[in-house]
C-alpha cells in the first residue's frame, strides 16, 4: 500500500473538516487530560502508600497536664512509675518490634518542620503530649490487639494508628481520582460520539470517492484506512497536548498548593517521567478507542 497516497487522502480529509477536526482534537485532549490526571493521582496514591507503609507506627499518647474532659480517660498526668511499667510491658510484647519514647518537646520540634513557620507559630510544645512510638511486627494484623491491650493502661490517654490519619489524605486523593475518572469517562463518551459523527460526515462527504473505490475493487481496509488514520491522528494530537497540560497541573496543584508538604517529603513528588507515563497511558487508551470507534462506525456506515 502506498503510504503517500493514503496520507494525501488523510490530509485532504482533515483539511476538509478543519473545524470539526479542531473540535474533536479539543474534546479528545480534555478527556485524555482527565484520564491522565486520574492515572497520575493513582501514581501519587501508590507512592504515598509506599512511602508510609514501612514507616507506619502506633502512637501511645500519655496523659498530659489537666484540664481533663469527661471523655478523657486521664485523671492526672502520667507518673514516672507508670511510664517505666508501660515501657517494660511494651518492650516485652512479642507483637511489638521496637519502642521509642518521645517527649512533647521532641514531637513539637519534629512537627514544626512539617507545619512550616506560620502554622507552627500557633502551636506550643505543651500542646503535644508525650508518647511512645511503636512499630509493630505486623501492623494490620496486630494493631487491634495492641491498641486494646494498652488503651486503658495507667497513664495512657489514647492509642492511635498513624494509618488512620493517612487514610484521610488517601481518601481525598482517592475521591479526586474517582472524580477525575468519572469526568474523564463522560468526556471520553462525548469524544467517541463526536468522533463517530465526524467520521459519518466525512464518509458522507467522500461518498463519491469511496463508491468509486469500491467499484474499482479497493479492499475494505483501503477504503476505510484514511478515516481510521484521521481518527488516530486526532487522538495522538489530543494525547500530545495532555503532556504540557498535565505538567502544568502537577506543578500548580501538587507543587503549588501542597508545595510545603512536598518539599518536606510529607507528600511524595511526581517526576516528569510520571507525567509522561500517565499521558502516554491515556493517549494509548485514546488511540485504541479512536481506532475501535472509527472501525465500528465505518463498518455500519460505509458499504462494501
Amino acid at each position: 500500500m502506498r503510504a503517500s497516497f493514503v496520507m494525501s487522502g488523510v490530509g485532504q480529509g482533515l483539511r476538509r473538516n478543519v473545524l470539526m477536526s479542531i473540535a474533536l482534537i479539543m474534546i479528545t485532549f480534555v478527556s485524555l487530560y482527565f484520564l491522565a490526571g486520574a492515572l497520575l493521582t493513582q501514581k501519587e496514591i501508590g507512592k504515598f502508600r509506599n512511602q508510609y507503609q514501612e514507616k507506619l507506627s502506633v502512637q501511645v499518647y500519655m496523659c498530659g497536664p489537666a484540664p481533663y474532659g469527661q471523655s478523657n480517660p486521664c485523671k492526672h498526668p502520667f507518673t514516672g512509675t507508670e511510664k517505666l511499667k508501660l515501657e517494660a510491658s511494651l518492650k516485652a510484647d512479642p507483637q511489638i518490634a521496637s519502642v521509642r519514647f518521645l517527649t512533647h518537646q521532641e514531637i513539637y520540634n519534629k512537627n514544626k518542620d512539617f507545619l512550616g513557620k506560620d502554622n507552627s507559630a500557633l502551636l506550643q510544645a505543651s500542646d503535644f503530649p508525650d508518647e511512645f512510638t511503636l512499630s509493630l511486627k505486623d501492623l494490620k494484623r496486630d494493631y487491634p490487639q495492641v491498641a486494646q491491650r494498652y488503651a486503658n493502661a495507667p497513664g495512657v490517654n489514647a492509642v492511635q494508628n498513624e494509618d488512620e490519619g493517612l487514610k484521610t489524605i488517601l481518601d481525598i486523593f482517592d475521591k479526586s481520582r474517582i472524580g477525575a475518572l468519572a469526568f474523564a469517562l463522560v468526556m471520553l463518551i462525548a469524544a467517541i460520539l463526536l468522533m463517530a459523527i465526524t467520521i459519518q460526515v466525512a464518509a458522507a462527504q467522500r461518498r463519491n470517492e469511496t463508491n468509486i473505490m469500491r467499484l474499482v475493487g479497493a479492499s475494505r481496509w483501503m477504503t476505510q484506512m484514511p478515516f481510521v488514520i484521521e481518527a488516530m491522528i486526532t487522538a495522538v494530537i489530543g494525547g500530545i497536548l495532555t503532556v504540557p497540560a498535565l505538567w502544568f497541573s502537577k506543578t500548580y496543584v501538587l507543587n503549588g498548593i501542597f508545595g510545603h508538604s512536598v518539599s518536606h517529603g510529607v507528600l511524595p513528588d511526581l517526576s516528569v517521567n510520571d507525567v509522561l507515563v500517565a499521558s502516554g497511558e491515556s493517549a494509548l487508551i485514546g488511540i485504541v478507542l479512536a481506532i475501535v470507534t472509527a472501525y465500528v462506525t465505518l463498518r455500519s456506515y460505509v458499504r462494501i
Partner: protein
Amino acid sequence: MIRLDHVTKVYPAGTRPAIEDITIDIAKGEFVFLIGQSGSGKSTVLRLLLREELASSGKVFVDGRNVSRLRSRRIPELRRKIGCVFQDFRLLPKKSVYDNVAFALEVINKSQRTIRRAVPEVLDLVGLDGKALRMPNELSGGEQQRVAIARAFVNRPLVLLADEPTGNLDPDTSQGIMGLLERINRTGTTVLMATHDNNIVDAMRRRVIELDGGHIIRDQSRGVYGVGR
C-alpha cells in the same frame, strides 16, 4: 463469462420482484445491449453482477465464479475483473483527468511504474491524450464520459458494464462513445450495456436482451431496439 441462472431479486420494500426467474448466458467477448423501460430490471442485473446486491434466488456467475457465494473480503477481487461506466460519469471533481484514472489503480495498490505506463496508454485509447492535466469541469460531457471509460478500463477488466453511458450525451457524442466501447470490446472485453437509446441499438446490430417487468421478453442476436416487443 456471465451467467444468470434462474435468478430472482426481490428488494425488501418491493411489492413485486425486480427481476424474476431470469436466465442469461453471455460468452467471453460478446457485446450485449440490455434494454427495457425504467423499472424493467436492467440496473438490478448490473448490480447483481457487481455484487452490490445479492440474488434472492438463483445463481449469478462471473468468470466462472458464483458471485452470490463470495465472502465479502473476496468481493474486491470480483470487482477488479469488472469495469463500470455510468450515465453521470462519477468523476472526482478535484482530481485531474490523469489523477481520476490513476485513482482506480492506486486504490488497488498498483505500483507507480504500472500507473505511469497504464494511464497514458488508456488515455490515448479513449482519445484524451494531451488532456491529462485538465480538470473534469474543463471537459465536455463526451470527454468526461471518456475519462470514466478510461478509469473503468485502465485495469483491463474482463467485463465492462455500462449503465446508460450515453444518457446525458447528444447523438453525435454518443456515437463517439459507442465507437470507443466497440474498440474496447474488440480487445476481448465482454461489454454489457443497459440503454434506452434506440438509435444506438439499431445502428450497432448487436445481441439485444429486452426486459419487461423483471422478465426477459426478448433475447435476439443482431437485434434492434423496437422489433419483437
